[in-house]
């Protein structure tokens, strides 16, 4: 009789374990890496807006070379203002350059300079892709 009671108790506890696992699977979330190409995640709350992109050679645009990219950026809502890790991928006719830096974004547009490791002769086709990941 005592053994039966103990077995029932163990069974009950095992069911609790399963219930806990089910509950956890319901409330847990996974990364969605493909979302917006931004490597980010589960609950949508706003946008990082890239208002403009400029290719510069030093401080000038009067050149067919460039060694830094200037992005004009802001966030769509004050609730998502804060520190971001922004990555810029420059594809200059097949040659890829990637620069990442931390910036503080607000609802006011600001210009951020991303320095490239070398002087680049601008190709016929240049693609600038911007990714952002919130840090705080």
């Amino acid at each position: 009789m005592r053994i039966m009671k103990l077995a029932a108790l163990v069974l009950f506890l095992a069911m609790l374990v399963l219930a806990g696992d089910v509950l956890s699977s319901l409330i847990s979330v996974d990364r969605i890496d493909a979302l917006g190409g931004s490597g980010l995640i589960n609950v949508g709350r706003g946008y990082v807006i890239v208002q403009g992109v400029g290719l510069y050679y030093g401080g000038s645009q009067a050149s067919r070379f460039f060694n830094n990219v200037r992005l004009t950026m802001y966030v769509s809502d004050s609730s998502i203002a804060g520190t971001y890790e922004v990555t810029v991928v420059v594809d200059n006719g097949g040659a890829i350059y990637t620069v990442t830096q931390t910036v503080t974004l607000s609802t006011t547009a600001s210009i951020y300079t991303f320095s490239l490791p070398t002087n680049i002769a601008q190709a016929g086709e240049v693609s600038i892709t911007v990714y952002a990941r919130r840090l705080d």
Binding site: L23, Y47, Q61, G124, V130
Partner: protein, 141 residues
């Protein structure tokens, strides 16, 4: 007496252990939720400049209204050769590759090794939230 209590204590210990195991997933999930970033989508995500030597697209800047519409694009063109005019086209695409906005403009004359700016009004005015890719191209007028 001690010998009779030993199995009870053992099962009590086992029970507590199982209860902790029971809630391990919940604790883990709660920790994951607190560490998860919100979805921050970059819009537009890609700017693509199509140049045709000696004319180069150097800058594209969107005019976005407070309502979120892209109304125009200001483009800077650099001329690396002798003075000439340029025609500039702007295309805006959504995630699916659909054209959702476009426009064109002309610059009469760009002096040698100088830049000129042209503001291109868009025929459609898409919401920035739907704009995934901006393409700007330049050719000689």
């Amino acid at each position: 007496m001690g010998l009779r209590k030993a199995p009870i204590l053992s099962f009590l210990f086992l029970g507590i252990l199982l209860l902790l195991l029971c809630f391990r997933g919940v604790f883990s999930a709660a920790l994951n939720v607190s560490n998860v970033d919100p979805v921050i989508i970059v819009r537009p995500e890609i700017f693509k400049f199509h140049s045709q030597s000696p004319l180069y697209v150097r800058d594209a800047n969107l005019t976005i209204t407070t309502a979120g519409s892209i109304t125009s694009v200001t483009v800077t063109i650099y001329n690396d050769g002798s003075p000439r005019g340029a025609v500039v086209y702007v295309y805006i695409y959504d995630d699916a590759g659909n054209l959702i906005g476009s426009g064109s403009g002309e610059i009469k004359n760009i002096p040698r090794e100088k830049t000129r700016i042209v503001n291109i009004q868009l025929t459609q005015q898409p919401q920035y939230s739907t704009a995934y890719r901006i393409e700007v191209s330049v050719s000689e007028a």
